[in-house]
């Protein structure tokens, strides 16, 4: 079998699986935007829609995993090709998790609507979610373009999200101490803030995958384990 044939068959498979990742990314972005808009506008209908649409994201994750396993079994990719396929599987997992956090935000909206309002919180959370959504958009473009510079930029922007979270955390504490009726809504709002910060962590994890795909090693400064998945 000529080499050319094998290469292009793999490339075709890779393109098809990458298209699925981009489709999944689009759905996840929409989930973030809609969940945070639903929070801002106390829109219960939109929250319900976000909940319903999460299944499509989960189905895509499963499909991507299957297709990647098939590509590995069929094409036996090596070196950089294998790296890309393994990264696609990890990115799909990150997207699925971000989708779950958006879904969770939508769930909490439905509860929060009936509680004492906390001034300014919904606007701040919506801005935080908006920032994460933009980072997600940029990191997926960086993945398709194999653009390390842009991926590095996303890594750095995650610090802003962490800062937004920390500021909100302190604000919620103050609200809770002021009035016991604020405690329950603030617990939910705080969860939303924390989960949005975690979405940001998953976005940085995708950025690290981009760097790994291109360079063959994980970024030293932003080792996934040192910074990710730690609460606070």
């Amino acid at each position: 079998m000529p080499d050319q044939h094998i290469v292009s068959a793999f490339d075709r498979d890779l393109e098809s699986v990458q298209a699925l990742v981009m489709k999944m990314g689009g759905l996840v972005e929409a989930a973030i935007v809609d969940a945070s808009n639903a929070l801002l506008n106390q829109d219960e209908e939109l929250s319900a829609e976000v909940l319903k649409r999460d299944q499509a994201i989960d189905d895509l994750d499963e499909l991507i995993n299957e297709q990647c396993a098939n590509v590995i079994a069929l094409r036996a990719p090596a070196a950089v090709d294998l790296r890309v396929i393994l990264s696609v599987m990890k990115i799909s997992g990150n997207l699925e998790r971000i989708g779950d956090y958006a879904k969770n935000m939508a769930k909490r909206n439905a509860v929060l609507v009936h509680m004492t309002q906390i001034e300014g919180a919904r606007g701040a959370l919506q801005r935080m979610a908006r920032e994460v959504q933009l980072m997600l958009k940029d990191v997926l473009d960086a993945f398709i373009q194999r653009d390390v510079v842009s991926a590095q930029d996303v890594l750095e922007r995650d610090r802003d999200v962490d800062q937004m979270y920390n500021a909100l955390f302190r604000e919620f504490l103050t609200f809770m101490m002021e009035d016991p009726r604020h405690i329950t809504p603030c617990m939910h709002l705080h969860f939303i803030a924390k989960n949005t910060e975690r979405m940001g962590d998953h976005v940085t994890s995708i950025a690290e995958q981009v760097i790994y795909v291109v360079s063959g090693s994980m970024p030293e400064e932003a080792r996934p384990k040192a910074t990710r998945y730690e609460t606070e």
Copy 2:
């Protein structure tokens, strides 16, 4: 090349990488036990040790990922062999995450020592962590034995952990409403409870991988997406 040779080379590689997973599992179990004992006994020294030891867990995760990629590239496994290797990578990721949660618990211990004590909370959290550690032990044994029945059992036990979390959540709310000085420590204790519940989610995710490895499909009832990674 005779088939026999290929099979046993893969099996040897698989055994070596599975041994690393078991080693990693042992370190993660120790982290859970020590972090929760440190919480119970307000032991700052033990907390510091848990923090320090997390690096070894992260290093093992990286090593396992590398070795799995090498096995795929070298042996080009298909069907069930490929399924096992891909599962090993996912399980390693789950273990790494559980380790991070244990580390985070240890970090919060250091803060909590200097705060108003919340009656009974540390004991309850330690019992919850103990349950998760036992589930982790059993699910890793189930993985090595390819024991679906035992994996299914772990899936069911996760409900107890969720119930423990829900009970604690309500308790913390009561404490916070009682006295504003309880708010900050309860926020930290609540995080520990939530993170322990999330450890349980990662353990169930490993259980699902065991079922996937043996049966070739994810368990229908306990779809990872429907139940995992959702906060509450």
